[in-house]
């Protein structure tokens, strides 16, 4: 009988804490959104199920939880804390990215830079709210709307905040269809949304081959701390464009990135144990993340309008919203908004150009913020 009672006291039912129950509910909502609403299922499904796994109560000290040394989850989590998974994701992302759109209209790269302003505004806000510079930098990078970059920087600067920051970054990426359209609509007129972009010129293979080499050198000379992200990114792109290692490029953009995404999402989800995750700081991080993402969207749109003051061939300011690096979610949203205004105005390719520039921009920002806090 005593053994039975001891067993009962070790079950999850006995050990359950209200914080675990709240997080279990969050996990179930994520899984529901991924399956029923198809909101970024590649992200929300692994994260959601990870949240469920991470919040099943257990007795501590037996090497079960993600924060306990020698547990299986802890080993898998090493890929997050070391910044390994984000680098691998960037390799695959590079092997997927087509820079032709950006090369044919390089002006659009400036929108990718402008959308990073949300990061720096949030940096100031977080520091004003009392976060230490390293924590504020980790929170601010959420404005880049790039999950792997946010995780990478946080792992380096404030590992204790990885859970809330990763969840916030991925949540906002998944919520792009809800967050971005009202901001785009608010900051643009109907006439501006109807602006048609000039046809893109054809980009030669040589240009596409030279770009990753020039890009990695320039960006990494500027911010060497971004090498772990931009190095694999441009390498993946060179593999794709070279055409001589198609098998490797194919593996990078399928099996490798998929494996990293699974473990990244799952372990980040599992790291949100209620007792560690649910605290006022996490709520603050979520609020600041939302502000960062909204400002990033707005600054991109406003910068496009600013550029239009000087350009003969106007830019559709909606494209500024795709300067964040949420690929391809924000580009899709810009395209949809353009179509709603004018069903014959196709902005997708131009928006992808801004999007790919945003990926580079946010990785540079991460490198800069890391070096500022060294």
């Amino acid at each position: 009988m005593e053994l039975f009672i001891q067993f009962l006291t070790n079950t999850g039912f006995y050990l359950a804490d209200y914080r675990n129950l709240i997080m279990l509910l969050v996990g179930i909502v994520f899984v529901y959104l991924a399956i029923a609403k198809e909101y970024e299922p590649l992200l929300l499904l692994p994260i959601g199920f990870g949240v469920i796994i991470g919040n099943i109560p257990f007795f501590k000290g037996f090497g079960i939880g993600i924060y306990e040394a020698n547990s299986v989850l802890h080993y898998l989590y090493f890929g997050v804390t070391s910044g390994l998974y984000p680098s691998i994701v960037f390799l695959g992302l590079g092997a997927m990215t087509d820079f032709s759109f950006l090369l044919s209209n390089p002006k659009l790269m400036l929108l990718g830079a402008a959308a990073q302003m949300g990061i720096f505004f949030t940096l100031l806000s977080a520091m004003a709210l009392g976060f230490a510079p390293n924590e504020a930098s980790s929170i601010a990078i959420i404005g880049g709307a790039d999950g792997p970059t946010s995780i990478f920087l946080t792992a380096k600067l404030a590992p204790e905040l990885i859970g809330p920051i990763a969840i916030a970054a991925y949540s906002y990426m998944a919520l792009i269809p809800i967050i971005q359209p009202p901001i785009m609509k608010l900051l643009t007129t109907d006439k501006e949304r109807r602006i048609r972009m000039a046809d893109l010129r054809e980009v030669s293979r040589k240009e596409r081959l030279i770009f990753p080499v020039v890009g990695v050198m320039l960006c990494c000379f500027l911010a060497p701390a971004s090498i772990p992200l931009l190095g694999p990114f441009f390498f993946g792109n060179l593999m794709k464009e070279s055409g001589v290692v198609e098998r490797l490029a194919q593996t990078a953009r399928s099996a490798i990135i998929d494996t990293a995404t699974i473990f990244l999402g799952f372990t980040v989800g599992a790291s949100t144990q209620g007792d560690v995750f649910l605290n006022p700081r996490s709520i603050g991080i979520f609020a600041l993340g939302a502000i960062a993402f909204s400002i990033a969207t707005g600054s991109g749109v406003l910068f496009a309008k600013f550029m239009n003051l000087f350009l003969k061939q106007k830019i559709n300011p909606l494209l500024g919203a795709s300067g964040v690096s949420a690929v391809p979610g924000s580009a899709r949203e810009v395209h949809m908004m353009g179509l709603k205004t004018d069903p014959t105005n196709y902005l997708l390719m131009h928006a992808m150009a801004c999007n790919s520039s945003g990926v580079i921009g946010s990785a540079i920002c991460a490198g800069i913020l890391w070096s500022f806090n060294m």
């Binding site: 790269m109 830079a113 720096f120 500027l222 920002c365 500022f372």
Partner: protein
Amino acid sequence: MAIVGATIVLSGLTILSLIISQLHKIVGLLEKKATVSVEVPQEAEGNPKPSVAADNCPSNIAVTIEIYQPLVEELEEQFQLADLYELAEKYHLPHPHLSIRCLREAGKLESLGDGYFRLAA
């Protein structure tokens, strides 16, 4: 810290965009050199030229496109047919007027209005 960071990112990406905006011109220059040094001697050696009848378009328009592609790349993105004709004459291509007309008729030279054209994708 924030201002410095924002300035670095903006200037870095501006420089990168400036460089890539010139990339096609650099590539064009390199290819131009290659065209002059390789293609002209080939003609001098009497390599086969596209078989074009005096008043008919060639049966395989792809050959004509292949010949005119490097010429088009030497010109601006949007060009006038007269410029293309001059360049074709410069390289002693046979029947430039007819070839350009055939490219137009085959829809390979796309009109952009105001007398400007570009090679269709």
